[in-house]
Amino acid sequence: MSGTNPSPSKIAESLRPAPASDLHARLYTSLYRIRRVEEEVARVYPTDKIKSPVHLSIGQEAVAVGVCEALRPDDVVFGTYRSHAMYLAKGGDLNRMIAELYGKVTGCAKGKGGSMHLIDAAHGVMGASAVVGTTIPHAAGYAYALKYRRSDSIVVSFFGDGAADEGVFHESLNFAVLKRLPLIFVCENNSYAIMTHQRSRQGHADICGLARAHGLPAERIDDNDVLRLHERVGAATGALRAGTPGPFFFECMTYRWKEHVGPNEDYHLGYRSRDEAAPWMENDQVGRLAALLEPERRRRIQETVESEIRAAFAFAEESRFPDRSELFTDVFKDA
């Protein structure tokens, strides 16, 4: 069913936008769609129909959306266990994502991956891993192959502030600079690794500074502003396609509204306060972009998205679980 449901940009286009607000419509469509999908995931979660841990991006959507809307379909992204937003923003198939969370054979990994290993190679979503930092070098290797093949496609590596604690982060940046790869590193810095703040893990806590020390042009975007994110990353993709050697680095400050894993809030645990969250919620990009659209148009986007979501959950519900025989397939690829 890959491609049965349109990518955010396609939806927006299908709504024949006035060129000026075209971008806003695209960004809003993607933001709203991701927000609503995850709200539905959170709503359904207590029923135990979702057979997987869920690491929600609610509050962080702007990063995935701002970045991915600046990419081409043939560009490629790698992510983490918290990749619902990235997967959808890049055009990953929604039906197959929800089916994967349900553990159904129609899932993007046939139920063999779960929510932490979303993939949709046809749309450039090349995978996500539950071991922090492990996909960063994959992005570098993929970018090396693109450069070797003289492709003008670009790779984006998404990871969190916690991944910057890992040695592989540095090894990968160094290799990317050494080989001048067509690669954009995007650190989604939500200040926490589970419940441990960046300052409790990083002596200096300046991830952009580390990237610069490896020789990368690095830019911190402090306010989760989807328009600015889109504009700055677009400048980088433009430069790369124009032949400027990579890599580029963006540290995108953002905030996770929900608990690290699961559908609920966790402000009661005391490791962070609602006050800390408040400014981020006031600066919610979904609401902000909604306000930029003319109401009738916004309503039509919402309707399209809502029916798409209803269809996706219905698809997952109706799909079957894999047969036991599936257990032994996909270990090796046979010649």
């Binding site: 063999k112 604690d165 893990r201 490791y271 270990v331």
Partner: protein, 348 residues
């Protein structure tokens, strides 16, 4: 009358006792000091012993393992905690190339008294990278001790023994065992390396269950009673040094051995136990052997496949029945409420 604790409480109490007894014991690892406190196994310890002795770390498994080794060279006794055994793959060089070898390659002039706690995950979609039982890697390398306690009693006694041991000890937990309850004395007792325990007597077959599979084996034993098979169940507890004698003595009586591991079979603990029992008894006693473990695939999160991935009490009972009766009996016990697998509910 006995005091009942959970596995989690037993681990926490052992840590507390040793930290209270010996100021050289320190505890660190990702999230040991956060509100969830590693399922509660480290709850309250940061407050009680302060941030110098109990601290969360950066996500730096390789260096933090080296830090534990370096601190131990200076006389401390670090306990380094990992919420998933899978993450130890980032620390293999320090564990295999340094911790296991330091004493030997430095001619006995140093020792490395570290304890590395790690947890095997299961169910609720933990999937490919949150479910591995890789203890056989550590059994393979001389210089490491490996322990996988299955009861709260052993969890406490083995952890105290591990902390007091002057050598690196890999302490293997299982997320589902954390929910086990059992009697735990208040005293600071140890369950020392190298001694297995017969957890249930029987004469027809010897059933060795490793880590969480020990629970499934004990349930399988009850199923087997339905078909008149009396299984002796053994918990090796310490995988290295491994108490082969206790297993051999049992198999010498029963003539049959089934080893059920909470991991893959190829070059695993089950291969080792089958091979060494065979070596020991060849010529002396004819023996029938059988291995069970993870299916030889990556762990799938979806329930229908995950169920087929793991051995459980019923599939174990069926296989053991066939082993004892000398061929396929086509018997699979019916589910029994009293022998239901505890399901650990997500999200985790």
């Amino acid at each position: 009358m006995d005091r009942i604790l959970t596995y989690v409480e037993a681990v926490r109490e052992a840590t507390d006792i040793e930290m209270g007894r010996d100021s050289s014991v320190i505890l660190f690892g990702l999230d040991v000091d956060d509100p969830k406190a590693i399922q509660g196994t480290t709850a309250g310890l940061a407050r009680k012993y302060g941030p110098e002795r109990v601290f969360g770390t950066p996500l730096s498994e390789d260096a933090m393992t080296g830090v534990a080794i370096g601190a131990s060279l200076a006389g401390l006794r670090p306990i380094h905690v990992h919420i998933r055994m899978d993450f130890l793959m980032l620390a293999m060089s320090q564990l295999v190339n340094i911790a296991a070898k330091a004493r030997y390659m430095y001619g006995g002039s140093v020792s490395v008294p570290i304890v590395v706690r790690s947890m095997i995950g299961k169910s609720w979609g933990q999937g490919a990278q949150h479910s591995q039982g890789l203890h056989s890697f550590f059994m393979h390398v001389p210089g490491l001790k490996v322990v996988a306690p299955t009861t709260p009693y052993d969890a406490k006694g083995c952890l105290i023994a591990a902390v007091r041991d002057d050598n690196p000890v890999m302490y293997v937990e299982h997320r589902i065992l954390h929910f086990q309850k059992g009697p735990v004395p208040e005293t600071a007792y140890t369950v020392p390396p190298g001694k297995a325990r017969v957890t249930a007597p029987g004469d027809d077959v010897t059933l060795v269950g490793i880590s969480y599979m020990q629970i499934e084996c004990q349930r399988a034993r009850l199923f087997l009673e339905e078909v008149g098979v009396r299984a002796e169940v053994i918990d090796p507890i310490w995988l290295s040094p491994l108490d082969t004698d206790t297993i051999v003595d049992s198999v010498r009586r029963t003539g049959r051995l089934c080893v059920v591991d909470n991991g893959w079979m190829t070059c695993g603990a089950s291969a080792e136990i089958v091979a060494s029992v065979t070596e020991r008894l060849q010529g002396a006693r004819e023996v029938r052997v059988h291995r069970m473990g993870f299916a030889p695939v990556t762990c799938p999160p979806t329930p229908t496949l995950e169920e087929a991935f793991y051995p459980d009490a019923r599939t174990i009972a069926a296989a053991v029945n066939d082993l004892v009766k000398g061929g396929p009996q086509g018997w699979l016990p019916a589910e029994r409420g009293d022998l239901k697998t505890i399901e650990f509910r997500g999200p985790f």
